[in-house]
């Protein structure tokens, strides 16, 4: 499995789980479906970006930093788009950053890099 696909899959799975964790917050339980869909899309975008980065850059440290950065950035965007006065930056960005870090680590450790050019 190549790194971009691994990132995509991992981002999707973690996105679903991340969205489902909203069930533990009664105040937003009635919006669970929308949260899961949004979280999954965010996970997929996050995963594919980090996966492509891992294809280009072979460094565990840089992969983790990039994953953390992308995770935080996308989570910030999602939080900023929240309607109403409360944007829940902390509640959304903290797990988002950790998910990005996990994907960054996984795509550096596992998955196939690009094949060397052959004639």
């Amino acid at each position: 499995m190549n790194k971009a696909l691994l990132g995509l899959l991992l981002g999707g799975i973690l996105g679903v789980l991340d969205g489902l964790s909203a069930w533990f917050t009664p105040a937003v339980r009635n919006q669970l479906l929308g949260i899961v869909i949004g979280s999954t899309v965010k996970g997929l975008i996050c995963g594919v970006l980090i996966g492509f980065f891992a294809r280009k850059v072979n460094s565990l440290a840089l992969g983790i930093v990039f994953g953390l950065g992308i995770g935080l950035l996308l989570a910030y965007a999602v939080a900023a788009m929240q309607p109403g006065p409360n944007h829940y930056y902390f509640e959304i960005m903290l797990p988002g950053g950790i998910v990005g870090t996990i994907i960054g680590y996984a795509t550096q450790r596992f998955g196939e890099g690009p094949q060397a050019a052959t004639r």
């Binding site: 964790s21 533990f24 509640e91 797990p95 998910v99 996990i102 680590y105």
Partner: protein, 325 residues
């Protein structure tokens, strides 16, 4: 009146007599690099290719021609073993004084025993060990036994390349088909007709402390397990100053140096595989472990995963119970 030469004068005479006469060859002497049991190694300039190479030539009396045959056979064995971990032979010939020589790549690095001072990290040392195993396994696959593996015969090049040197005691293990000639070369020593542990000069073939017991005894039919033993002693040398030596690693060293060859790793790849498994945090054949040991090894191997997942679960748990005012 009898006059004697001083010791220093005698030493200079010996040195002068030792210097090979390179007239008629394409080489010019640069300096002496070292002295082995039967020959000297010199740094020479290849005037045609304009590069420096190492030249090995016999430097002790060789009345019966046995050493000459051995040197030539050594060159042929090395030439047959084309591997990045084995110093390539460039040329072979005979000097004007009748002594055979061969030239090889000039390796400018450090001997393993000298190099160890620069790296104390156990993983780095074990990776070097694996790279020592590669050419030895390659030689075995080509029917050649080294028989003198020791830290002094391993060189670490300036770019980290690992080279197994001094194949002067090597032995053809199996019947090897001579390439393109359709004939078989029978099992035998590289040293011409020598079939015992003693050379014509009465020295033991190999280095005490690194030789397998069967090699010390002079058993007939030495096989690759003798080199496995020597590699085991090198492994123990590499891990000697690790404190504490991991139990699994100690068990690998113990199995590789078992007195009875049957109890050792039977091949070099088996030994290398166990060392590689140890490096990867996997179980090793030499060290059976219980459920607790397996669990602990799994945790250590996956500690980053576990920490990341714990961080995520912790963050989620905190957020469930944390309510902003």
């Amino acid at each position: 009146m009898t006059r004697y030469l001083s010791d220093s004068a005698m030493d200079r005479l010996r040195e002068a007599a030792d210097v090979p006469d390179l007239s008629g060859t394409r080489y010019q002497l640069v300096e002496k690099l070292g002295q082995g049991g039967m020959g000297g190694v010199f740094c020479v300039e290849d005037t045609e290719l304009e590069r420096r190479v190492a030249l090995k030539v016999i430097s002790v009396p060789d009345a019966d021609g046995m050493l000459s045959a051995r040197l030539l056979q050594e060159a042929r064995v090395i030439a047959k073993l084309e591997h990045p971990g084995i110093v390539p032979v460039h040329d072979a010939g005979v000097l004007s004084d009748g002594r055979p020589y061969y030239t090889m790549k000039l390796v400018q690095g450090k001997r393993l025993d000298e190099y160890l001072g620069t790296t104390a990290n156990l993983s780095d040392r074990l990776r070097i060990f694996l790279r020592i195993c590669d050419p030895v396994a390659f030689a075995h696959a080509h029917g050649v036994l080294h028989r003198d593996l020791k830290p002094a015969n391993v060189m670490i090049g300036p770019f980290g390349e690992v080279l197994v040197m001094d194949w002067g005691l090597s032995k053809l293990l199996q019947t090897v088909e001579a390439t393109g000639q359709g004939e078989d070369r029978k099992t035998g020593d590289v040293h011409a007709n020598s079939t015992t542990q003693l050379t014509a000069h009465g020295s033991v073939l190999g280095t005490p402390g690194y030789m397998a017991p069967e090699q010390v005894r002079g058993d007939a039919g030495l096989d690759q397990r003798a080199d496995v033993y020597s590699l085991g002693t090198i492994l123990q040398f590499l891990i000697a100053d690790a404190s504490p030596v991991p139990k699994a690693m100690a068990a690998i060293g113990k199995k590789a140096t078992a007195t009875d060859a049957v109890e050792r790793y039977q091949t070099v790849p088996e030994l290398a595989s166990d060392v590689a498994h140890f490096l990867d945090g996997l179980s090793v054949n030499a060290y059976p472990e219980g459920p607790l040991g397996r669990a602990w090894r799994w945790i250590r191997r996956n500690q980053v995963w576990i920490l990341l997942l714990l961080a995520y679960v912790l963050a989620r748990t905190l957020l469930i119970f944390w309510r902003p005012r």
